[in-house]
């Protein structure tokens, strides 16, 4: 942990004792982590993926007034295989969530998720609806949440900056995608009589059985 903290705040270059005095104007040292993260955070490709109202603001963010490409987030990729970032921009419905999870599973690591707006964060004004999922984080891990209904384009840019800060703090040594072990594939939820989160299937079975006995 302390390692990560050190990396987040590397010693100031000018005073770096590892570089001799006379070479300080000619030599640039950095850590591999810094270089890696610097490259990564400036070449995030979001997935071309809009759900609802927030998607309109997302498109406006990509247009010339706000120009997402300034951050190096140049292209919106229509294929999840080429995307690094999923912006969940809008209300997540039960009918849509299996597809979102499937898309997330298809994205290669490292992958990030931004929950844009109130709906993607926790259901938003439509939370009470019978076909609405109370936040995408019920199914896939989210890296940055944005409030607002809908967030202004600048608010979305602000979340990008937050995400860049997060990426800066990651270290090659600790990131999960270079570590042995299984990929954390999220089981795709199933549309039955209602949305079924397969991770909770056993619990649902037991509870429903208990409810039937009581009835």
């Amino acid at each position: 942990m302390s390692d990560a903290v050190n990396r987040a705040n590397p010693p100031a270059f000018e005073n770096d004792p590892r570089v001799p005095e006379e070479l300080r104007n000619n030599v640039f040292i950095t850590t591999l982590d810094k270089l890696y993260n610097w490259g990564r955070k400036r070449s995030m490709w979001p997935m071309l993926f809009g759900l609802a109202c927030c998607a309109i603001e997302m498109i406006a963010t990509a247009a010339s007034r706000h120009d997402l490409a300034r951050f190096g987030w140049e292209l919106m990729r229509a294929s999840p295989r080429q995307a690094d970032l999923m912006i969940v921009s809008g209300t997540v419905t039960k009918k849509m969530v299996p597809q979102i999870v499937r898309l997330y599973n298809q994205m290669p690591e490292p992958r990030y998720v931004i929950a844009m707006g109130a709906c993607a964060t926790a259901g938003g004004p439509f939370k009470e609806g019978y076909n609405v999922v109370s936040g995408i984080d019920k199914f896939i891990p989210v890296d940055v949440y944005i409030t607002g209904c809908p967030p202004r384009p600048e608010a979305l840019l602000h979340s990008f900056i937050k995400l860049q800060e997060k990426i800066e703090k990651q270290s090659l040594r600790t990131v999960p995608w270079y570590r042995p072990g299984e990929d954390d594939v999220v089981p795709v939820p199933v549309l039955g009589p209602d949305l079924i989160d397969m991770r909770r299937a056993e619990e649902i079975r037991q509870k429903a059985a208990v409810a039937q006995e009581q009835a």
Binding site: C53, G90, Y130, V132, S134, L191, G192, P193, M198, A208
Partner: protein, 650 residues
């Protein structure tokens, strides 16, 4: 409910005075007034007899013999000129024990819609009700609307070509718009909820409910041992000529189905494997699922296309990926609460939606906004039309392959209009500007100057530039002329509205058909083109932008004579009571006819809140427009319809 003591079959057409007392909803004993007879109603009644057709409460005729429905509809279409079914919905009168299916028929040459109602007894529990004859053989535009009624109320339609759930999925438990169906996060029948004040300790909805999530399962449900097929029946009519599917359907649903988790998860995989069964490939026909995540479907729409080589031979739509339960929430909201929700219907043009809803409620309340507010409404609605058409054209070009550059130019213009919206109303998209009997804010001098700069200088210049760039562009013409042709009669029969219908030569625009607001004061034309193809749908939008601009310019000039700040009739109020009654109100949004069918029981909440959405109904005709074209054109045709998924799925 006010309808509580309604006679099952009104004995005599004793038309009581139409002014119903705004009785408190519950416990009202007065029978609702019967609809006053119009010449059209009399004609139909004479033709079929008074025992079959009697005046219904508030508005329209009540058909007592539902087996006569198709005959009545055919007569309406062929003899009386009602050539489209513009709105079709149902209302659950739970206390009276019946569902009422409501049809609004429309003449394409104009006039008020004709309302026909019919009742079916309410079934017990979760059962389906008695079937109602389908009107799809008379009106093609009834197809999706009947499926929606089936999906929401569990009213089956006999002889419907493809009766499956449309917004939800096959296998969903329950019929959501029935009044006795409660969702997982159900807190009360009406807002405001009592838990909010004065003892409002914050609690997440998850903490309140037994499943700790927004889900509900039937008693004794076993997720580990059941077969899920949310797409059941989808491919049935498309199977012919597709080897993998034919095999699957040959097995039919009677064959032993795999069960358990793996089975449930693998439904899609199984389909895919079957489709990719190369050994059995005998023809070129394959099925391709485009969407719900697809860059060209304008949102979360799923197009299932059957392809012969590159030619589309069949097309089906799967909707509901953005079904946000607008109507269920709307029936719990107070009248005022619904205004910001309507913004989120068609989120490109929120202001136009608000007008539709506010207009309908004002119709029931019998109030009118002051002069100044009328002008402000027109100003905002027409700017919305310009902004929406900019967007539509930009993304149509995107679909044509001009990736993002034209769209960028038009989004820049749109942003300038949104700047005005933001500075006046406070938000770029979700303006929440209209109020019952007025609007929320007036324009300051600076805002008026911004609007004038836009209306007189900037936008005219930009529309010229748009035309220069696109209208005679040979690539645009090569891709669009003659593509997606749907002749006028078919368009009308499909209940198509908006620019697409006018591009087919039908001068049907609600601003002229059933004028609302103060549109009669402006000098403008309803542009009509006759090509009925994608190119004319593009051109008509450009022409409409010019007409809208003309209205905005006149509006800004005439507005100077009105009194600044006079924007609200009566006192500003939040607990409106709407007199018991029923109303269908509609406006011309950039997408077409947006209608609201509202039923009030005299209380603070809508008893029934139905949105007749133009995007949704326009999609019915997509199949006929697309079949025979290349798959790349399917994308363009969809773009030319200019749908917004928030409005399609609601």
């Amino acid at each position: 409910m006010a309808e509580e003591t309604k006679p099952a079959a009104p004995a005599a057409p004793a038309a009581k005075p139409a002014a119903a007392k705004p009785a408190a909803g519950h416990g009202a004993t007065k029978a609702p007034p019967l609809a006053p007879m119009t010449p059209e109603m009399t004609e139909l009644q004479q033709r079929f007899g008074e025992s079959v057709l009697a005046p219904a409460p508030y508005v329209g005729l009540l058909l007592s013999d539902k087996s006569k429905l198709v005959e009545v509809a055919t007569y309406l279409r062929d003899e009386m000129g009602y050539d489209s079914v513009t709105n079709l919905t149902a209302v659950d009168y739970i206390k009276d024990g019946y569902f009422e299916v409501v049809y609004h028929f429309q003449r394409s040459r104009g006039g008020e819609p004709f309302t026909l109602k019919l009742r079916v007894p309410r079934p017990q529990g979760n059962d389906l009700s008695e079937p109602v004859p389908s009107l799809t053989s008379v009106y093609a535009g009834a197809e999706f609307q009947e499926r929606e009624v089936y999906d929401m109320f569990g009213i089956p339609f006999s002889n419907h070509p493809d009766l499956r759930r449309i917004l939800l999925w096959e296998g969903f438990y329950g019929w959501p718009l029935r009044k006795d169906w409660k969702e997982a996060y159900y807190e009360g029948d009406t807002k405001p909820f009592e838990s909010r004040w004065p003892g409002g300790h914050h609690q997440l909805a998850e903490e309140r409910v037994p499943w700790a999530d927004n889900v509900n399962y039937p008693l004794g449900f076993d997720p580990l041992n059941f077969h899920a097929d949310p797409d059941a029946g989808l491919y049935d009519t498309m199977a012919e000529g597709v080897p993998g599917l034919a095999k699957r359907n040959g097995n039919g649903s009677t064959a032993p189905q795999p069960t358990g988790v793996g089975a449930a998860v693998s439904v899609f995989d199984r389909d895919r494997n079957n489709l990719a069964d190369v050994d059995e490939l005998q023809t070129d026909q394959i099925i391709v699922n485009m969407g719900p995540q697809h860059p060209s479907t304008h949102g979360v729409l799923r197009m299932v296309v059957k392809l012969d080589g590159e030619t589309v031979t069949d097309l089906k739509l799967v909707l509901g990926y953005l079904h946000r339960n607008h109507e269920k929430i709307g029936e719990r909201n107070t009248w005022l609460h619904n205004i910001p929700y309507t913004d989120r219907l068609d989120y490109i043009c929120g202001l136009a939606n608000e007008w539709g809803y506010v207009l309908t409620v004002e119709k029931m309340m019998g109030i009118k906004p002051p002069e100044r507010a009328e002008y402000l409404r027109v100003l905002m609605a027409e700017l919305t039309r310009i902004e929406s058409h900019f967007w539509a054209i930009g993304f149509l070009l995107n679909d044509l392959g001009a990736f993002y550059t034209p769209a960028l130019y038009f989004i820049t213009e749109r942003d300038l209009i949104l700047d005005l919206f933001e500075s006046v109303t406070g938000s770029r998209l979700m303006c929440n500007y209209f109020r019952f009997g007025g609007v929320s804010r007036d324009l300051t001098e600076a805002q008026l100057a911004h609007a004038k700069e836009l209306a007189f200088e900037r936008i005219p210049r930009k529309i010229d530039e748009l035309e220069e760039l696109l209208s005679e562009n040979e690539i645009v013409k090569a891709r669009t002329v003659g593509v997606g042709y749907l002749p006028a009669e078919r368009s009308i029969n499909y209940s198509l509205t908006g620019p697409c219908l006018r591009a087919a030569g039908v001068p049907y625009d609600i601003r002229r058909v059933e004028p609302y607001g103060i549109y009669d004061r402006f000098d403008f034309e309803i542009p009509v083109l006759y090509g009925a193809d994608v190119y004319d749908r593009y051109r008509i939008r450009v022409m409409e932008m010019r007409q809208s601009l003309k209205i905005v310019q006149q509006c800004l000039q005439q507005m100077e004579q009105t009194k600044w700040g006079d924007i609200q009739t009566g006192k500003k109020n939040y607990n409106h009571r709407v007199p018991a009654g029923q109303a269908y109100g509609r406006v011309e949004t950039p997408k077409g006819e947006l209608g609201f069918y509202l039923v009030s029981d005299g209380g603070q909440n809508a008893y029934r809140y139905h949105v007749r959405s133009s995007s949704f109904i326009n999609l019915t005709s997509l199949k006929e427009m697309t079949v025979g074209h290349k798959v790349a054109d399917a994308v363009v045709i969809l773009g030319s319809l200019d749908i917004v998924l928030g409005e399609v799925d609601r």
